[in-house]
């Protein structure tokens, strides 16, 4: 997941690239269609069937409700992670003592995949909604903290010395050197974290809403695109599974892209390749 950010920073998208993309994607779609017609795709529906199902869903309020619910959860978890993660990261940059106390625990907890927290979260939080938000939060939190911390520690000491020699106070140094110096890696961490939150939200929705006994509340409040996928699976509507997958792909791609744009806007001094 951490790769997503690095690669997307590389610019492409010239005319010939688009032609190449169109050719390759087009030919795979045609092949898929033919194979589906010949019943060679192990039950995976044909692209045209998927498109038809998607078209129908576009007029279905429930589909857009799923978008809204997933996006809302992602946003809630993500912004909580952003605020708390940046705060903790900065505090660890500024205070060596806090770093010494917190970082080892952090390193011990980090290898536990966020989704392993699902049952514990469900037990702890009073509502399913809160537990999904918590898992989503966890997904982005680690990445954001680590990026903030690394960014803050990588600030060239000469900038700090230069500022001090020009008579800056400690507060000045923090506001004018540490904060902007950390910003580029915070935005990178945020973009990567955003990718992870979508990943996590889908799973959390499937496990808690879609899974047999968890969450309990089922259809109504369960909702979300992950639930849509799971529901389509149990309901035997395979076209809708793929519609759901593509929708999440689009949602994740758009939100990461948006965030990256915002990051570029916020750090105009970073060279573009």
């Amino acid at each position: 997941m951490a790769v997503t950010a690095t690669l997307a920073a590389k610019g492409h998208g010239r005319g010939s690239d688009l032609v190449g993309a169109g050719l390759s994607i087009g030919s795979v779609l045609i092949l898929w269609e033919v194979m589906a017609a010949a019943d060679l795709t192990a039950g995976v529906p044909a692209p045209t069937a998927v498109l038809a199902a998607w078209w129908n869903l576009l007029f279905d309020g429930g589909y857009w409700q799923s978008w809204y619910l997933s996006a809302f959860r992602v946003a809630a978890g993500f912004f909580a992670a952003l605020v708390l993660g940046v705060l903790l990261g900065l505090a660890m940059v500024v205070s060596r003592t806090l770093y010494g106390i917190t970082f080892p625990i952090f390193e011990v907890l980090r290898p536990i995949p966020p989704l392993a927290w699902v049952p514990a979260a469900i037990i702890f939080w009073p509502t399913t909604e809160l537990s999904i938000a918590f898992i989503t939060f966890l997904g982005a939190f680690y990445t954001i903290v680590i990026n903030t911390l690394d960014g803050g520690r990588a600030i060239d000491q000469r900038y700090v010395q230069a500022a001090l020699s020009m008579g800056a106070s400690r507060m000045n140094v923090f506001r004018r050197i540490v904060l902007p110096g950390t910003l580029p890696s915070v935005t990178t961490g945020a973009a990567v974290g955003m990718g992870i939150t979508w990943e996590v939200v889908v799973a959390a929705e499937m496990i808690s809403g879609g899974g047999s006994s968890m969450g309990g509340s089922g259809g109504g409040t369960g909702g979300g695109l992950g639930f849509l996928i799971w529901n389509s699976y149990t309901g035997g509507s395979y076209e809708q599974i793929i519609v759901g997958m593509l929708s999440i792909g689009i949602a994740g791609y758009l939100s990461s892209g948006l965030l990256r744009r915002f990051g570029q806007w916020a750090t105009p001094w970073i060279g573009r390749r």
Binding site: F124, M214, I248, G249
Partner: protein, 290 residues
Amino acid sequence: MEMVASGAIGREDSRLAMIRRRLALSLRSPAPYLALLGFALFLGFWHLAVEVWQLPRFRAMPSLGAVVGDWISRDPIYGLSLFTPEYYAHIWASLRRVLLAFALATALGVPLGMAFGWSPAFRRYVFPLFEILRPIPALAWVPLAIVMFHGTESSVRFITFLPAFFATALNTMLGVSSIDESYLRAARCLGASRWQTFRHVVVPGAMPFIFTGLQISIGVAWFSLVAGEMLAGEFGLGYVIYTGYTLVTYPTIVIGMVTLGLVGYVSSAIIRLVGRRLMQWHARNLGIEG
């Protein structure tokens, strides 16, 4: 004068002395004591919040004593401990899935990434397919994988494999395109053929990125394995965590989580070590340049 290489002094014998010196240094620094303090605070709060103060939401959580007690008990109340063979069976089940997925992801991802990085034509036509599939979260594949592979086991393996594969291929590609043009030119100047350039320049030059990719790869493999096992598994640590919830044997949830963290950490540490061994030149570069 300047031709004395800084790293050419005897290595093996000085290594032990270096470790000892480092140990002494770190004991004098506050770091280990702060770390201990941190763990004490964390575990202390867990214990107090659940068992002594019985804070509102914490009351339902498994307590530190229950978890540790069960984990090291020869006769665990909730059925899973260091002394029960099931514990190791679950670890092995998860580990086997991850290793299988990781091996396959490496075997396919590295060559694919090399091809992306090395051949612009291949990249132009195949990379878009790759890019279109990549934003779809691995876990969203679960139902489709069950449909395609007619079974939960292969679908769990598939979703473990998929993100690992993407991470490996992408990082390998980045590694190849990160190689400084002048290395490629130098190789051609010195008479290397295309294949020789590939073998002597592209492969070693991309190696640091490949190993970063492998680290991410094993991380994401564990990440989605857990979810896969929760949704569709019949064995493994994700399954342990999930059934810990459904069967209301809450301490096993925590045992499962901690074990998962441990196994995950060890597996990525091993990859880091192998990488360091294979790329001594790289480790030394980093060591010398800061």
